[in-house]
Symmetry: C3
């Protein structure tokens, strides 16, 4: 990993650390993860015109929505299925590390919040196996935590927390998340 890329990962980490609350930090200092991983993943939503590049698609919408445009009322009720590339830095075109696969759904009318169920799937010399995630994503918050609910292969029986940060957001087509995975149960 080049120094530029390293600095980018560091930048994400620093942002996450600096925006954690003091109380949270205290607790976290007493608990050191047995494994820690930082990745980016990139989501390009299908909008009717980008079939080639899209990595996700709206598959469900409320009665007032459709499947090529995120619905009004903060996208409440839209369900999106995704197969997103994972990279070590914030460049969509960097070496592919794995795939983030699963779904998210928007679940509030007044602001943007989501619920996620997905896996990081790895099949390289660096990592083989999967990490499974679930939880609420109040995505207007600078950082937010979801649960690592299990893992397979290199991540056999893993449990922990993943801190997510929106690293980029371009219109309603592209976003990029930085994910700081902290495992507290490693087998």
């Amino acid at each position: 990993m080049g120094s530029t890329k390293l600095i980018l990962v560091l930048f994400c980490l620093l942002l996450i650390i600096s925006s954690s609350s003091a109380a949270h930090k205290k607790k976290m200092q007493a608990r050191k993860p047995c494994k820690r991983l930082v990745f980016y993943f990139h989501d390009i939503i299908y909008n009717g015109k980008n079939a080639k590049n899209a990595t996700s698609a709206i598959v469900s919408a409320p009665a007032w929505g459709n499947r090529t445009l995120l619905a009004g009322k903060s996208h409440f009720g839209d369900v999106v299925v995704f197969d997103d590339p994972i990279t070590l830095d914030n460049n969509l075109h960097s070496t592919l590390i794995g795939r983030a696969q699963g779904f998210y759904l928007y679940d509030k009318k007044e602001t943007f919040t989501a619920w996620l169920g997905f896996s990081f799937v790895f099949n390289s010399t660096a990592h083989k196996g999967s990490i499974n995630f679930a939880g609420a994503d109040p995505l207007m918050n600078k950082t937010r935590d979801i649960s690592v609910i299990g893992g397979t292969g290199d991540f056999f029986m893993a449990r922990g927390i993943a801190t997510m940060m929106t690293d980029a957001f371009e219109g309603e087509v592209y976003f990029r998340l930085c994910v700081d995975i902290k495992l507290y149960e490693c087998w």
Copy 2:
């Protein structure tokens, strides 16, 4: 918490305890939760007319269904996204304690059963953080258990069981669940 409210919570607890099987009780006596919380949450399904008050909406339906009316065949295949208020007692208009956010889907043609993936999201002085749930809900049973699969903030790394009871059911628009959360892993 006023005495009336306390009695209501107690009532829910008593119902849950009294309807547990003897075998289950034996096991449970030997395992005391490290944390226990009882809440109510309230679901008002969008039916095409109640846009203002609705807290949930049908977003998927089988080929024979639609998104403003729960489908025939025990609603099999209907997926509902929700953002439901959590209260300490059974009154929809009581102080908001947090939000229950996620989805449920009906998954049996012959009777009413559901599968749930959701979080309790808290952001008050009493509780900060989230509790993540998943599991089967055979909702015609008086009580049924789902899994607490993780947590964040005050509920960091939580695991346990949530016993749910339908406390009210009004037509196909409103229901209220009493949830008795028993955590057996607390960090």
Copy 3:
């Protein structure tokens, strides 16, 4: 670069390096499950003509799909809700042991992969309770692992791994999975 920054870079680098250790693989070989169960489950997808026999139905599809035919592009975006019979052997008509209930969604355009959230629900003298599963299913692989994220009743607080194998696949209407459940946390 100041010395503080340099230390932070080194810290981050160490975290990334330490996470690729293979020591835990050895542990896995030494670990014996505290409970092991092998079952088959059978999925018959609704195709517009088999309403009586179908055990599952497409409830969501991307903009280019519909709910009576699995979509093109490796069924990307199709969400299927199911209530499948569980048997001890590979015969659909064998004694019913329980039901597999929940959903799967197809999440890759170039090949067949899925994401699953479901429960095995048992209510017999042999087994009472539920086992909850979540995870990625790269279904073209001969075997693949998903996570056991929790359980209730006889499977109270269970955690583990389920190895799945496609045992039969007939057109786009029927498939049968063999599931080898290995629990590593039993209460």
